[in-house]
Symmetry: C2
Subunit: 133 residues, 2 copies
């Protein structure tokens, strides 16, 4: 059994008044991941370009998530005092370290997308049969 690190992870995730969990969640949530990846790949990137590049995000959530990422030191916000204003967002070095983990996760999803779809179908069909009995 891979008793080694897993146990550490499991314990670690509960240490400190859940600061760990808060950080973890704030980084892996839907919008954060996409913003970070875009800032890494196409950074410095402007507000409007982010908005256009992330299907389904509202102006409000983009702003809120950007502020949170900025507050955590993952995104650097640069204001160019021009008219009209120009603001650019860049991934910090700390944020760039996330790329690998995100890649892994992304690859995992790709690898098993079909498996998961099939599992869902099987599960749902079983439920139907049970309900029909």
């Amino acid at each position: 059994m891979s008793q080694s690190y897993s146990d550490v992870s499991v314990q670690v995730i509960h240490s400190e008044p859940c600061v760990f969990r808060d950080i973890f969640v704030s980084v892996t949530n839907k919008w954060s991941v996409q913003i970070i990846l875009l800032a890494i790949a196409r950074g410095p990137i402007r507000f409007t370009e982010l908005e256009r590049s992330i299907p389904g995000i509202s102006r409000r959530m983009l702003t809120v998530t950007l502020r949170q990422l900025e507050r955590n030191g993952l995104i650097v916000r640069t204001v160019h005092p021009t008219v009209p204003p120009k603001v650019e967002y860049t991934a910090s070095d700390v944020a760039r370290e996330l790329e690998n983990a995100f890649e892994q996760l992304g690859a995992w999803v790709e690898r098993h997308r079909e498996f998961i779809a099939a599992a869902q179908e099987t599960y749902d069909n079983e439920r139907v049969e049970v309900a029909a009995s």
Copy 2:
């Protein structure tokens, strides 16, 4: 620039009617991560042990999340028809592949916890100063 994979990730995350994003989110959310890690580390694990091992989780969310993970083929549910009932949960092979990515993420959080805390403090102090001006 690490233009290579990032761009792929960025595009991939938007392909298919967001199935990708759905799967990604369902796997990285707060409760799923902890359940998967526990199932890997201490698998086969019972309902009540999960409940006790995950601080703050409600019975409802544990049930709901377990069902979702089971539906996606990440957790295998085994019922022992005894009295009182005994149900055990195990991580599937597909789920076990997530361990690495979760480890990386966990290590990242650990590495930068202090940096993030400091960044937050700086950010908040700046906000206070601006407000006071």
